[in-house]
């Protein structure tokens, strides 16, 4: 119970600018790499790569020693097989098939979804009538429609594209619809009082206000759309990544299965990164750190 003021306890390191910068050339480079705030992104990327590399090393060590190689293959084996696929060109063929199916379905599904979202958001009575039907259709796992689509659309590209399309359609429809319904009425009223006509209110208020939801719908649709394409090929196909997956699982060829899964992971990661970048460009006004010369959204 002493009345002495206690020194404030300080957690962690002092702020960067208070630390002395070391003198030597190499030391300074190292210091910057470790501490400089501008290099935070690079540091994060390095750590991520390191983490992945550590997993691979662990996998390689475990394979054949702790777990049978037949069950988990090994990074070395995967690399060999991958090189072979690249050399023969077969992987590009399958890749292209799956990706183009995804792309066609994605474009068609998202155009329809965003379009219908806009239309129904402006017609609340019709929306209320058909809502349970849409939800019921969407509630059933999409694979259940697979055989129907095959019966209706054959066994070529079309049933896969339709499968992707229905998935993307619902995701973009729901996000567009709720994005538009969520536009604050006050903002709409303000624009109307200012003399804004219907079309201008749509273009300058409703569309930009709903944009974050629409973009989010487009974003989450990508991996789900790919799942649709692969499920479609899994059901019936003679090409594509889904076909490879089903072929190798029938043959119990673990290395092939793992390799296809890894490739899918890489694609989803890359596409996601691209979409994140696009989103941060389009929705700059939301980022609390961006100040100054930012251009607002096109309107």
């Amino acid at each position: 119970m002493s009345a002495e003021p206690r020194p404030l306890s300080v957690r962690g390191a002092p702020p960067e600018e208070l630390l002395p910068e070391p003198q030597g050339r190499l030391e300074r480079l190292w210091w910057r790499l470790r501490r400089s705030p501008e290099l935070a992104g690079l540091r994060l990327a390095l750590w991520r790569v390191l983490f992945g590399a550590a997993l691979l090393v662990l996998w390689q060590i475990a394979s054949g020693r702790w777990v049978s190689e037949k069950l988990i293959s090994s990074p070395g084996e995967l690399a060999t097989v991958f090189a072979e696929w690249v050399r023969s060109g077969s992987i590009f063929f399958h890749f292209a098939y799956t990706l183009t199916n995804t792309l066609y379905g994605y474009v068609a599904g998202s155009l329809l979804g965003i379009g219908l979202g806009f239309a129904l958001a402006g017609a609340p009575v019709i929306a209320a009538i058909i809502e349970p039907y849409i939800m019921a259709f969407n509630g059933v796992p999409r694979i259940a429609y697979g055989p129907l689509f095959i019966a209706w659309f054959g066994i070529e590209r079309l049933p896969k594209v339709v499968l992707v399309g229905t998935i993307v359609f619902f995701l973009t429809f729901v996000s567009t619809f709720s994005g538009i319904r969520g536009v604050p009425q006050d903002l709409i009223n303000v624009a109307r009082v200012m003399g804004g006509r219907r079309f201008d209110v749509y273009r300058k208020i409703i569309l930009p206000s709903a944009m974050p939801w629409i973009i989010n719908g487009l974003k989450v649709s990508v991996p789900f759309g790919m799942v649709g394409a692969i499920v479609g090929e899994y059901l019936v196909s003679d090409r594509g990544l889904g076909y490879l997956l089903s072929l190798y699982s029938n043959e119990y060829y673990i290395t092939g299965m793992i390799l296809v899964i890894l490739l899918l992971m890489v694609v989803v990661l890359l596409v996601n990164q691209g979409l994140n970048w696009l989103e941060s460009r389009l929705l700059r006004w939301r980022a609390p750190v961006q100040v100054g010369q930012d251009r607002p959204m096109p309107s």
């Binding site: 624009a191 009082v193 200012m194 003399g195 804004g196 201008d200 300058k204 206000s209 609390p288 309107s299």
Partner: protein, 260 residues
């Protein structure tokens, strides 16, 4: 004698809320004269905001009519600007582009748009913040932007719904002073809602006192304090105290009734 620019004739408003019929306004008759600064004061829930919504045409009256320059108006009146209580700036537009919004919506020629915006922004002390987004501005700055966004398209009448309500006392005074300066220059007709008597007296030519729900006009008081006024020293004006007491007597009864 200036002629009324806006008149309310027997305006009443009822609506259903949670299954119950609510009488928000009952039989309001009021003439608003061209160029005057009119404040509306009343206990909370007395239908002040409903009154503004009816004046601008966002809500239809249940009874009675609104006349603009003598002619009845139905629907939105494009000659009326509306400064809302919330600033309602578009979060995806910078300050400058928020101020430009009404000119775009009204398809006014590009010509001097930018200069007009820049002039107003400078006048209210927001120069240097043109390219900031609303979330990067303080509450007082956003409200100033909200006000000049209405001034820029030059509506004949401006409605203001407690525009300084959420601001701290010093910022309020500064903005009241700025508003008076802007009004002196533009000579708009202003209908200003507030629950702050001091604010109403400092700014207005007339103060309309409304009763508790259903809102009626209880009293209209002229404020004979000479202009130009200094909002920072209002309490020193000769008859300020009398006016304040007079209004407060009436308002207190209504506030008590509204709380009961």
């Amino acid at each position: 004698m200036p002629r009324p620019i806006l008149s309310l004739r027997g305006v009443a408003k009822r609506f259903v809320s949670r299954g119950r019929l609510v009488h928000a306004l009952s039989r309001i008759d009021l003439d608003i004269e061209e160029g005057e600064f009119l404040s509306v004061v009343g206990p909370s829930g007395c239908g002040k905001s409903t009154l503004l919504n009816i004046l601008v045409g966002l809500l239809p009256p249940s009874e009675g009519e609104i006349r603009y320059e003598g002619r009845p108006v139905h629907g939105l009146n494009p000659a009326i600007g509306y400064v809302t209580q919330q600033d309602n700036l578009l979060p995806w537009r910078t300050l400058r582009r928020n101020v430009l919004l009404p000119l775009e919506l009204r398809h006014e020629p590009r010509g001097d748009r930018e200069e007009r915006a820049a002039r107003l922004i400078r006048k209210v002390g927001l120069a240097g913040f043109e390219e900031h987004y609303p979330h990067e501005l303080s509450g007082g700055m956003r409200q100033r932007a909200n006000i000049i966004r209405t001034l820029i398209y030059d509506p004949a009448v401006i409605l203001m719904d407690e525009p300084f309500g959420p601001l701290d006392a010093q910022t309020r005074l500064a903005l009241q002073s700025q508003l008076l300066a802007l009004w002196r220059e533009a000579r708009k007709t202003v209908v200003f809602i507030t629950h702050d008597l001091a604010e109403a007296i400092a700014l207005s030519d007339r103060v309309v006192l409304m009763s508790a729900r259903p809102g009626r006009i209880k009293r209209v008081v002229d404020i004979p304090i000479a202009r130009p006024r200094d909002v920072y020293h209002m309490h020193a004006a000769p008859n300020y105290k009398e006016i304040y007491e007079l209004l407060w007597q009436d308002l207190r009864e209504e506030v008590v009734e509204a709380m009961a």
